[in-house]
């Protein structure tokens, strides 16, 4: 039960974040909004690292620089998210984001890219994506 509530709250925060970013960006600009939310989030995360006495960051040198730099992609993700929300609303934006995420997950896992173990993709996964695309079409018809 507690796990379900956490997961639902996680989804709520993700949507709230998209909405807040879109609202902020329409008032002060997209890059300003992206930089601001990332900076304040970073400061809070650092505070948590300090409070819980986490020192695992000292092993950062053991992480491949490519993977360690994943955060840079946020600029593209945020820009696209805010612009898409402005153009077509939250629901459709999230729907298309989810489809693209899962399709990319299929690609990564079936090819075993980025140090992920290679896996066979089942028909269920394909069917799931098809159902989602149908949902997008219904949503926008």
């Amino acid at each position: 039960m507690k796990g379900i509530l956490f997961a639902l709250a996680g989804g709520f925060f993700l949507t709230y974040q998209s909405v807040a970013n879109a609202t902020i960006s329409s008032q002060i600009g997209t890059w300003q909004a992206a930089a601001m939310t990332q900076l304040t989030g970073f400061l809070l995360a650092v505070l948590i690292v300090v409070v819980v006495g986490d020192r695992s960051y000292q092993q950062l040198n053991q992480v491949s620089p490519l993977y360690a730099s994943g955060g840079l992609l946020a600029a593209i993700v945020l820009f696209n998210n805010m612009t898409a929300v402005h153009q077509m609303g939250v629901t459709l934006t999230i729907g298309v984001f989810l489809v693209a995420q899962l399709v990319m997950a299929i690609a990564i896992d079936s090819k075993g890219w980025f140090s992920m173990s290679k896996k066979r993709i089942g028909r269920t996964q394909i069917a799931g994506v098809i159902l989602m695309v149908a949902g997008i079409i219904v949503l926008k018809w």
Binding site: G29, G70, A74, F79, L98
Partner: protein
């Protein structure tokens, strides 16, 4: 509209790539240190892009006080999703997160909170959201669950900045 869909497709693909990269980072580093790193780089990239496109115009803005607290939302995402994954396991937790995301999206569009343009509720949009949710659940919880553990971790939108 077509532009919006194109941007969302690219954005979603990058969310997945980023989650995969982050999963590799988390093999060595704790969730919170990873989150801090990811947000720092996200800030650096957004700041640089802003400077490149807008020059010093980047600094000319009037923020309402709550704008400065928006970063808390990202931290809320990480905290809740991490807890959910620990209790429910990745596939069940991530599928719930995604379903929750799209339903709250529908709610938000309908209510038009926070100066967002209101999109009137229709039964058709509810049907669309139900189909998308069904697709997510089928994808994440369908047969062969056991072999797909890592896939489910990868596909989750568990990051603070998407």
């Amino acid at each position: 509209m077509a532009m919006g869909i194109f941007l969302a497709l690219i954005g979603g693909a990058f969310v997945c790539v980023q989650n995969t990269f982050n999963a590799n980072v988390k093999k060595r580093i704790s969730v919170w240190s990873t989150t801090a790193l990811v947000l720092l780089l996200g800030f650096a990239a957004s700041f640089s892009a802003g400077l490149a496109f807008e020059g010093t115009g980047l600094f000319k803005f009037q923020a309402e006080p709550w704008f400065w607290f928006s970063g808390i939302l990202g931290v809320g995402v990480v905290a809740c999703v991490t807890q959910g994954v620990q209790i429910l396991g990745p596939s069940r937790a991530i599928s719930l997160v995604m379903v929750s995301q799209i339903f709250f999206g529908l709610m938000w569009d309908t209510l038009g909170w926070f100066g967002l343009e209101q999109v009137p509720f229709t039964w058709q949009s509810l049907l669309g959201v139900l189909l998308i949710s069904g697709g997510v659940l089928l994808f994440q919880l369908g047969p062969k669950l056991k072999q797909k553990q890592t896939l489910n971790v990868n596909s989750g939108s568990i990051e603070a900045n998407d």
